[in-house]
Amino acid sequence: MIKASNISHFYGLEQVLYNLSFEIKEGGFVFLSGESGSGKSTLLSILSTLLKPTSGELLIDGESVEGIKNIDFFRQSKVGFVFQFHYLINYLSVYENIALAALEEKKQNINKILEELGILELSSRYPNEISGGQRQRVAVARALVNEPKVIFADEPTGSLDSKNSQIVYGLLAQAVKNGTTVVVASHDMQIEEYSTQIIRLKDGQIL
């Protein structure tokens, strides 16, 4: 599903990732673990095509990321994201936030997903009118709407209490059951119980 070969990355003169090579199999629940500053968020950003690595090659679903002609369509159709701080657009309603990410043919799924996540009644509200846990559920719904091949989540429960964290992990685990690959970067060890593969990072290197 994902093959990383010799991935290195620099921020200015500072090297944060060192020649990382690994594979992620389709349908897995992958846990990128490590302390703060270990490089897990940078690696997740590279894997999810949101950041170009300084060097190395990345294949997703057999396709080299460098060679993808329409990266926007690739991101929209094959990849879903869940960020720590949800990153919903504040001037769009819950429904509109999800519709913004949805492919035209997937827009009919929005209400169904909102219902499954228990937030259908919030669809006309704005992000500042709902709780932190509800916002993160909306972010998960936005990631699921196009039924992507892979979902990347960066500290998805970092700003949530344990109850809401369990809900989010449960939703991601359900996505794995439905055939989606999920890659989560977190320092929350609770994830281990859901994960099928763990990649441990320390100082930009795989342990």
């Binding site: 950003s45 949101l50 929209q76 990153y87 657009i89 769009l92 704005y126």
Partner: protein
Amino acid sequence: MISLKALSKNPFKSLLIFSSITIAVMAIFLISSVSQGVIGMYSKMIKTDGDIIITQKGISDTFFSNVDISLLEKIDKLEHVTSSYAMIVGASPIGHIPIAGIYGTTANHFSHYKLSSGEYPKATEVILGANLAKQFETMDVNIGSKRFRISGVYSSDIGFEEGGVVMNIEDAGALFNRSASFILVSSNTPNEIDNIVKKISNLDSEIEVKTTQNFVKEYNQFKIIENSSFVISTLAFAMGLMGIASVMSMIVNSRKEEFGIMRALGKSRFFIIKNLFFETLIMSVSAYLFALLLSLGILAMLPHIEMLQGYVNGTLSLSTALYVLASTLIMALLGSLIPAWVASKTDPILLINQGCA
């Protein structure tokens, strides 16, 4: 439409952009309109009253010109001349008013000033422009070192005249120690104007004779006003437009996180640029129209502000309005689209992180 949503859900930012563009556009309008208005008033005063103007040779300003008034008799006898009159223009303290325009004219020109009360002035009498008259309740007024009786009040659609005083040319001559500032000649035969100019020129070697059209084009004071207003307007224009561009640029930069999220969700650069284009277009056009309305309102009020005595008038030409519209749109779009384009080329995660910073 996402652009309208973005504007309506961020009212403070929208108001900030709207106000900045409105103020910048108003500054441009008012500065250029007032300078255009000053030139317009004086040239209208001269153009509407005659076809030919006679001033003293080699004098750059009518205020310093001295023409022999006895030329009037000779000019009136020339073929195709229908009328002529002499005028002295000057400025002097009037009562408690520190400075106002004084127009001394021959009696055959009094009818140009429409009386709203009283009668035209005889010797040692004056009529006051409507704006100036509001500031006097007495029947007499001191002009320079002399005292004049106020015989009436007149109105004029030329601001300079509304705030001035009209008197007999003999009284004005005594005040300003000259015969006449200039003589204006009218003819009902446009084809003969050039011949009349030549004939009048031959009457006196100390005079300069021009058609009023040419005089207005070549008048030094107008050139000075035009040049200085051009410099001031250009500076105001540049500052206003740079203000618009920098406000738009700041607003776009403050939205980097949003653009990063959109790029992460697979939205194209074109999608972001297109929405920002419409937001900027809606904002700049509405701010422009609001500024235009406010400016027109202020320009309409200016002649009625007593303190200004009607001397400050504004003329907003269609060409200026269109030029400002085009420039406003270009600068607003450049100010927003260039940083947006640069931002859209950045890796989405860097945009999101920059937005958080």
